[in-house]
């Protein structure tokens, strides 16, 4: 979850998100270096009193400042492509979760386990407890096992919604009439929050997503409790 005055990315709960954070830091470092260099050059122009009236061309420096940016771009491109293919790797998920977006709540189905289904509505601010997170807490959280690959299928019932958890690096659009699939892996327990990320009407800001990541024995216990009730 974002804490107060959080400027950067949330700490990751997934190895892929960790890699995304590393790539972000790497690319940002390169950009900062370029910006400082260009900013310095522009700033020093204020204090320059020399003019070369007969300047026509400088072949060597023009070659350098064409080749060097190409090399810098290679330093950005290779990690980027590596990460792109890493995100698409095939693995074998152990749990499948279906998430359907409605106006204006999410409903979830665990079809692996005798069809557990429930809706997840945001808790309104006036019903929130003292330590509740405004616009983020929901009545029924998605309980999922940690340290397991999880497949999620996202769709929508009416208009386009988007299911996202920033701490896991997951964002999947839910389009009516279409199933979009992605995988993720949580490597620590806790609560992970997200909010609908595709404009879907008046209460688009008021349909959050909460994942409760638990050890697998607690997950099995939760499943059997839900099956019995």
């Amino acid at each position: 979850m974002s804490t107060w005055a959080n400027l950067g990315l949330q700490d990751s709960a997934s190895p892929l998100m960790e890699q995304l954070i590393f790539f972000h830091d790497h690319a940002l470092l390169i950009l900062v270096m370029i910006t400082v260099l260009v900013g310095y050059l522009m700033f020093m122009l204020f204090f320059n009193n020399y003019v070369n009236r007969f300047l026509l061309h400088g072949q060597l420096i023009e070659m350098i400042w064409t080749i060097l940016p190409a090399i810098i771009l290679l330093f950005i491109a290779f990690p980027s492509l590596r990460l792109l293919y890493l995100l698409d790797e095939i693995n074998e998920p152990s749990v499948t979760l279906k998430s359907i977006g409605h106006q204006w709540y999410w409903s979830y189905e665990y079809s692996d386990f005798n069809n557990i289904e429930f809706d997840s509505y945001m808790i309104p601010t006036n019903e929130l407890s003292t330590d509740g997170f405004r616009l983020l807490d929901v009545d029924n959280r998605i309980v999922l096992p940690m340290n397991s690959q999880i497949r999620i299928l996202v769709t929508a019932a009416d208009v386009i919604h988007s299911w996202t958890i920033p701490a896991l690096g997951v964002k999947v659009d839910g389009t009516p009439g279409r199933l979009n699939q992605t995988n993720f892996f949580m490597n620590r327990p806790g609560l992970f929050y997200g909010q609908c990320s595709e404009i879907c009407g008046a209460n688009h800001s008021f349909m959050p997503i909460v994942i409760e990541s638990v050890p697998i024995n607690y997950f099995i216990k939760w499943i059997s409790n839900n099956l019995n009730s």
Partner: protein, 198 residues
């Protein structure tokens, strides 16, 4: 034609190469000099410049053949003298042919001011526009602050109840108990073994 330049004035510049040999002598070459001046006039590309320079002397090639006057440190010697020819300046030009030590300071200054509009110090000095720019910027900032103050007081609703101290403390306690952002974020600053901030 004679009124266009004094006898002692020289004509530098590439276009003058055409009139080689004719410029030095005075009396008999008067007609030749007129012809040469007409020839030189034909070499300029904009006849309007000749009209604008009026009675002022052309002393250079100018911008691609069009004589101009501009005070610029990149191109120091303009192609047109700044002021028109007068008998006083003709006399001083005669004196200028001799030893410069014999010229007084005032004569040097008037010779300069005849040929040029401003000195280097005058045209390189920065204009005081920055004062107006800073003034307008500060005015705009204060106007924006006024609008935001009025909006906050008169237009916007109160903040939700979750912004008060009791709620925020409770939320902070819950954030720490849930170990949110435990790597570099908020929970990483809490010492769990001693139950206080690091």
């Amino acid at each position: 034609m004679n009124s266009l330049r004094c006898a002692g004035c020289r004509l530098p510049g590439a276009a003058v190469a055409v009139i080689a040999g004719a410029a030095k002598s005075v009396g008999g070459a008067h007609r030749a000099r007129s012809a040469d001046l007409r020839l030189m006039r034909r070499f300029t590309h904009h006849d309007g410049t000749r009209v604008m320079s009026g009675k002022r002397e052309v002393v250079g090639y100018g911008v691609n053949g069009s004589p101009n006057y501009i005070d610029c440190s990149d191109f120091p010697f303009p192609a047109i003298r700044y002021r028109e020819v007068t008998p006083e300046i003709c006399a001083m030009r005669e004196k200028e042919q001799g030893d410069w030590k014999k010229l007084s300071l005032d004569e040097k200054k008037s010779l300069y001011r005849h040929s040029f509009c401003q000195t280097y110090a005058e045209f390189q000095y920065f204009m005081p526009e920055w004062k107006l720019a800073i003034g307008i910027t500060l005015w705009a900032i204060s106007f924006a602050m006024l609008i935001s103050l009025v909006s906050n007081v008169a237009i916007y609703d109160d903040l939700p109840i979750t912004y008060d101290d009791e709620h925020r403390q409770a939320q902070l306690r819950r954030i720490i108990q849930l170990q949110m952002n435990p790597i570099t974020g908020l929970s990483s600053k809490w010492d769990y073994s001693q139950n206080k901030w690091k």
